[in-house]
């Protein structure tokens, strides 16, 4: 019995219950911190152990067994560690950031439960057990969004309807698999996609996975939630945990449970490509930092789905690596946003500016994360994006150029929107109403710096995560992974970084050669006019107005802002119109009900008398 597998599930949940009865906030925070730390430690221990399995018999039906079946192998153990680690980081960050916020008591409890339940769904080896854990997640998501104060109920409701609804579709998929194979133990299933039923099962399960990860068209709750939810919640769930879980499941589906055929690959890649472009185009024109980041949280999923959809070795490896990189930099970006909000109390880009001088740590970590997400070499985002591109080209056929264009152009658009962020928040002129804010507290800096360092490390030494994490995951399906992954004869990130560093040094030598000593400060030159910089403050929010108003994009943007492309709104319109007729009848007015009764009675009489 490998009872250690139960610890990452039970430990956070139990501590959550203890916190529920502890009356002091301080103790609750300490407990949460210790709980997260212990969970991370246990997850690390599990990663270091070999494959573990825990089976407890539960329900035996004539057709299949539902056992409480947990398994940890390389892949799940790593995701387990990542989940627990992000939980720990968010807890450290929240200690200061969340201080004095509404419903703080519940916040840490929900956080602990989320980690426990997420760990459960990662470890489960039985589709029904997975589904049970999986469908508790949206409830916790609902609660975490809902506690953030007034106006959050609507966004929370939207999230639970979309994510919970997709869980229901997953249930249907599981039923089909049960019907097809007679078993629901995950590591015993391999289904080649050949007929209608297996295609349906694949699509249904995929919907569950990509809806969790937040790909289009199941994305629309994320921007809505970003507007109201606490920033650490956004950094933890949509930015980190949901990506880990959704992509983990997608890889399990695409790699372990099913053998994809070409049409399914094209389907996945199309979802990916559309997600990348559409979401990043929306991000480009946002005027609020939270919303902008949330659209990027959607857009980046596109790269992962695209990479996994290629079905090629390097593509899947790239998709997985991108998932890992994305959770790092996206979490970092959200936490930077939280740091800004912590000091300035707003995330409206128009009212921010010039924070680089007073908040240097936040600024530098944000620059690193922003360049990573834009895929600037030599940071981590570049390596994984480049692997995805390579995967797309390896697919062959005649359709890949479209996906490659979407992916590469999406990257340029990402850069554009982060140029806007960096200018409007950190570089531009500081608005008058901001009073020289201080840098954030130490405990908030720690997660920022750790994540930024990971961005740099995974970029320069990309061979390590590829060799120790992604290689073993894919070894099951692809043989000869060694030479393909270890980047020999490819872009060598370490060497390239050394060379970039040397070129930079050359530039510094240029500076030294020049007349650097005669450095002086001068006034800004604006054609000889004396100007007041604060009066003439140019915020970044209008950077891309030209693009917003060009050609048919103008029409698309107008429609998108009116939520014309949101399936949730379509669903709302359809269901409202369906029962609008009924609601006209049911007004609660007694005479009308009596009228109906009389009519009914008359009809009945007529039939009986005939």
């Amino acid at each position: 019995m490998n009872l250690i597998l139960l610890i990452p599930i039970i430990l956070p949940i139990t501590i959550g219950f203890i916190c529920l009865i502890v009356p002091w906030q301080r103790i609750r925070e300490v407990f949460t911190f210790i709980g997260m730390l212990l969970t991370t430690a246990v997850a690390l221990k599990i990663l270091l152990l070999n494959e573990l399995r825990l089976q407890i018999e539960w329900i035996t039906l004539s057709s299949a067994q539902i056992n409480f079946d947990l398994i940890s192998y390389h892949f799940s153990a790593f995701i387990l560690l990542a989940c627990s680690f992000f939980g720990l980081l968010i807890t450290i960050y929240s200690l200061k950031q969340m201080k004095g916020k509404y419903h703080l008591k519940e916040y840490y409890i929900y956080l602990l439960w989320t980690v426990g339940i997420a760990n459960g769904s990662i470890l489960s080896n039985n589709l029904v057990i997975l589904l049970i854990f999986w469908s508790i997640m949206p409830v916790l998501l609902y609660l975490l969004i809902d506690i953030s104060g007034s106006g959050s109920g609507k966004a929370a409701l939207k999230s639970i309807i979309i994510v919970g609804g997709s869980d229901f579709l997953m249930l249907l998929g599981v039923v089909i698999i049960w019907h097809l194979k007679g078993t629901i133990t995950m590591n015993e299933i391999i289904i080649p996609i050949e007929d209608g039923l297996s295609t349906a099962a694949f699509i249904l399960l995929t919907i569950g996975a990509v809806a969790k990860a937040g790909a289009m068209p199941f994305h629309s709750w994320i921007p809505d939630a970003a507007e109201v939810a606490h920033v650490p919640v956004m950094a933890f769930l949509p930015a980190a945990l949901d990506k880990l879980l959704g992509i983990y499941l997608l890889v399990r589906i695409a790699l372990d449970l099913f053998i994809m055929d070409y049409s399914m690959k094209v389907l996945l890649m199309s979802i990916g490509a559309v997600t990348i472009i559409a979401a990043v185009m929306m991000a480009l024109v946002q005027k609020d930092l939270r919303k902008l980041l949330s659209y990027h949280a959607v857009s980046q999923v596109g790269y992962m789905v695209l990479g996994i959809g290629t079905g090629t070795l390097i593509g899947i490896a790239g998709g997985l690596f991108h998932m890992l990189n994305n959770v790092i930099y996206k979490c970092c970006l959200f936490l930077c946003c939280g740091a800004v909000e912590h000091r300035i109390k707003t995330t409206n880009l128009e009212r921010l500016g010039g924070l680089a001088r007073t908040m240097p740590v936040t600024f530098i970590t944000c620059v690193i994360a922003a360049l990573s997400i834009s895929g600037i070499p030599p940071l981590n985002g570049f390596v994984s994006k480049w692997m995805v591109y390579q995967g797309i080209i390896d697919v062959g056929g005649s359709i890949w150029p479209i996906f490659l264009i979407a992916a590469m152009f999406g990257s340029a658009l990402t850069l554009a929107s982060f140029v806007k962020v960096l200018h409007s928040v950190f570089l531009g002129e500081m608005p008058k109403e901001i009073m020289e804010p201080k840098e954030v507290e130490f405990s908030m800096k720690v997660p920022l710096v750790i994540l930024a360092l990971f961005c740099v490390f995974f970029g320069i030494f990309a061979q390590f995560p590829l060799k120790y994490f992604i290689g073993p995951v894919l070894e099951v399906r692809f043989s000869g992974i060694g030479e393909a992954i270890n980047l020999n004869g490819m872009w060598s990130p370490t060497l390239a970084t050394t060379l970039l560093a040397f070129s930079l040094v050359c530039g510094i030598i240029f500076y030294r050669l020049g007349n650097i000593k005669a450095l002086k400060e001068g006034d800004i030159f604006v054609g000889g006019e004396p100007i007041d910089c604060e009066e003439l403050r140019i915020s970044g929010i209008h950077f891309y107005d030209t693009i917003e108003s060009t050609g048919f994009l103008k029409y698309l943007y107008k429609k998108a802002k009116a939520r014309a492309f949101d399936p949730y709104e379509w669903g709302k319109t359809i269901s409202f119109s369906l029962y609008s007729g009924l609601s006209k009848i049911h007004r609660g007015i007694l005479p009308i009900y009596i009228l109906w009764i009389i009519i009914g009675f008359a009809v009945l009489l007529f039939i009986l008398m005939k």
């Binding site: 340029a412 002086k520 604006v526 108003s549």
Partner: protein, 311 residues
């Protein structure tokens, strides 16, 4: 260790920084001379561009008060580093096709964004409103030309069925230059305005626009930092046409005939760029975006479809 030393030599001396600087500044002079002759001026002597850079290095550097100093001073270096690496990769592959690594074409595309990003960072940190406007225009220009440029390069990839620069060059030495195919002719034509825009030459000098926003991103730069920006641009003038030659004309053969042919090709492309530059007025930013997205991009797509059906 030996490998690293050699790599550093390649990066800094040949074919990286110093080599590209020297030739870049020389062709900068060629550019100015030809432009002057077209406009019935005499034009500068051959050493003018070197003298300009040297003079700038001796000048006092003025940093605008209240600007983000570190960002302001580091930005030029970023561009220089990026273009140095691009030059190293492209020339090394031309010299020895074996050193090509998987996806070097993509790496080159990404590194080519660095000089523009440097301008954006510099303009944004300079505190000057014109610098900020220049930065936003530069970014929009990237978005505008990147799309057709990408499609044109994908056309080449489709034709050669490889994304190794080395293989693209080898392919052409066996099968004849790519520009012999209709699809690649279109791709080449598409690339021309794109590199014009990358060089911020008229009619796409919108981010700098001296007569309108007094140099835009460069408005506050002076002394060495301005010299580095000028140098970066000169290097781009040298390396971008050469990049196109590698993609479409089969790169360079290292014998006298080969070098002469490349020189002629290079000068022809340069002449085209200069002719466009001297005979056109500057576009507005929205006109430029429309030009690239609704005119050049469809053309590039036609080229790509031709390549898909094997033309």
């Amino acid at each position: 260790m030996d490998d690293i030393l050699r790599a550093i030599f390649y990066t800094i001396i040949f074919p990286g920084l110093i080599f590209t600087c020297v030739f870049g500044l020389f062709f900068c002079w060629v550019d100015r001379k030809i432009a002057a002759r077209i406009q019935s001026r005499i034009g500068p002597p051959w050493y003018q561009c070197y003298a300009d850079v040297l003079k700038l290095m001796g000048k006092t550097m003025i940093i605008p008060r209240g600007s983000r100093k570190a960002g302001f001073l580091l930005a030029p270096l970023l561009g220089l580093a990026g273009i140095t690496l691009v030059s190293t990769i492209i020339w090394r592959v031309n010299i020895n096709q074996e050193v090509s690594f998987v996806g070097d074409l993509i790496v080159v595309l990404y590194l080519l964004i660095l000089p523009s990003l440097a301008l954006i960072m510099g303009g944004s940190s300079s505190r000057n409103p014109f610098g900020v406007i220049g930065a936003s225009r530069e970014m929009k220009m990237i978005l505008a030309y990147e799309l057709p440029f990408l499609i044109a390069i994908i056309t080449v990839i489709l034709k050669v069925k490889s994304i190794l620069l080395g293989e693209i060059i080898t392919f052409q030495s066996i099968q004849g230059v790519l520009v012999g195919n209709p699809s690649c002719v279109i791709a080449f034509i598409v690339c021309l305005p794109c590199i014009q825009a990358k060089l911020t030459y008229i009619p796409f000098d919108i981010p700098e626009a001296e007569t309108e926003i007094i140099g835009g991103t460069l408005a506050e730069y002076s002394g060495v930092s301005l010299a580095i920006f000028k140098l970066t641009n000169a290097m781009m003038l040298f390396i971008l046409p050469f990049f196109l030659i590698s993609l479409f004309f089969g790169g360079i053969n290292f014998n006298i005939k080969g070098i002469l042919i490349v020189l002629v090709e290079y000068l022809a492309i340069l002449l085209l760029i200069i002719l466009i530059k001297t005979t056109h007025p500057r576009l507005r930013i929205d006109q430029a975006i429309k030009f690239f997205w609704w005119l050049v991009t469809p053309l590039a797509v036609v080229g790509m479809i031709l390549a898909l059906i094997g033309e």
